[in-house]
Symmetry: C2
Subunit: 282 residues, 2 copies
């Protein structure tokens, strides 16, 4: 496992590997690893000759007033956690290495970023798309692996890859959960034990929604209403959104006549948590 | 010389060449070739194993009300004109091949596109940056060659390449002129013989400006004033701008204490023509 901090060095290494015909799989992360990240890496490990990951808390995807400054970081601990997974390259640049003075170019994916988190986090997906494109250009992957917990992010990256003719395949991996159902997230560390308990309502509400769907409910409104009721019962949960969307366009739908995304974002204490489930998938 | 119209086919060909260690040089064009294009290709031919060019009139770089529909096109004639230059690949896709339904991702280069043509052609540089990024991802060049006549475009592409970590070198080639000084442009075809004569005032004004600079003038205002006077003397020339800018930031400068861009855009009849000169270069 090599740790690389310099863009040119990383890019040169990637070029050489490509010239040797090596297949590269890439897992971009913001570090502070949990089992979700580890799962992405284990899946990635199976798919290519070289497994590259990045650890970079990307400032351009945080909106004003968000948690950029307090976002948890632990490079040493992260390296320790992944030492047996078979990661070949860890790309861990500084912010100034990625965004030198004079930086001014951004990627905008227009439609799929308008709804859900796009409404609450101005500039977020512009930052996500831009850093992913940069990392793709530096690491030159054949495959890139993303978690489905950030479903709108996954769709955004897939759209960008298609629209900009990036020669790589994007793979989504189902959300990894704690035993009690809470979706794994580096931001769970912001929760007090009491808030942590309340947060279980999120997955409980998604499961109940899925039961409604399985029993035949095909209208979005009653499902959304039920999810909101469960969440609103918990003191201290504030809802950003509960929506049912087309899984490709991320536009709201009224009637669920094919697989659909049920997505939730809430605030609990200082944490903003998101989760989702695909209705009709299993 | 192979003519390729399909994105996936072009991309596969490029990937294979890269794996064989071949160096690719790329000249993007909108076709309707004149000696300026040919010069870019001849220069490109010297620099790599494979010379790729594209012929594509890119709709996203034309603003509302501009000349997209009447822009001259002549694929057969173009192919004939370049048959002895040693072009390996001509990538000539359709608009729907490059912008299929649902297309929604764009690259924005913020600062260097604000001034000059950026003020007069809303969305132009967004379209230019986006199509160039797409073409770079399809053709995978090690080098890309652009003409200096579109100086702001050249600076925009250089900035994008740097910011987004594209692994390629951008090369600018000095403007090629007709014997009487008119900068070569596919849009010169819009000029009547009478307008064609008036258009000579553009390069004449740039040359006189350069003489002023050589004689010691270092303030922008008197030089700009002189250029405007020459242009305004011609009936039927309408000035979009005459400006002196930093060659890297494309910001206006008052005092010329290093190489500077003197850029002009005018309208003559139905043509919008641009030209420029680098003060202090020779």
């Amino acid at each position: 496992m090599e740790i690389i901090k310099n863009v040119k060095e990383m890019q040169k290494k990637a070029s050489q590997a490509k010239k040797q015909g090596k297949k590269i799989c890439f897992v971009p992360t913001m570090g502070f690893f949990h089992e979700g990240h580890i799962t992405l890496m284990r899946e990635g490990r199976k798919l290519a000759d070289i497994l590259a990951i990045s650890i970079f808390v990307n400032p351009t995807q945080f909106s004003q007033g968000e948690d950029l400054d307090v976002y948890p970081r632990d490079l040493k601990g992260d390296i320790e956690k992944i030492k047996d997974i078979g990661v070949d390259w860890v790309f861990a640049p500084s912010a100034s290495e990625m965004y030198p003075e004079g930086f001014q170019s951004y990627v905008i994916v227009e439609k799929v970023t308008r709804n859900l988190c796009g409404k609450f986090r101005p500039g977020h997906f512009r930052g996500v798309a831009t850093i992913c494109l940069k990392l793709f250009n530096i690491i030159k992957p054949d495959l890139a692996v993303f978690g489905e917990k950030d479903f709108q992010q996954l769709v955004t990256i897939k759209q960008m890859v298609k629209d900009l003719n990036l020669d790589l395949k994007v793979i989504g991996i189902p959300t990894v959960r704690e035993k009690d159902g809470l979706a794994m997230s580096s931001r769970n560390i912001y929760l007090t034990p009491n808030e942590r308990k309340k947060a279980l309502a999120i997955f409980r509400s998604l499961k109940e929604a899925n039961e409604m769907f399985k029993k035949g409910e095909r209208k979005a409104i009653p499902i959304i209403k039920h999810v909101r009721e469960i969440l609103e019962k918990e003191n201290g949960i504030s809802i950003d959104y509960v929506q049912i969307c087309d899984i490709n366009t991320i536009e709201d739908i009224d009637k669920i006549d094919k697989k659909a995304l049920l997505a939730v974002a809430v605030r609990i204490g200082s944490a903003r948590l998101i989760d989702n489930i695909i209705l009709g998938r299993d």
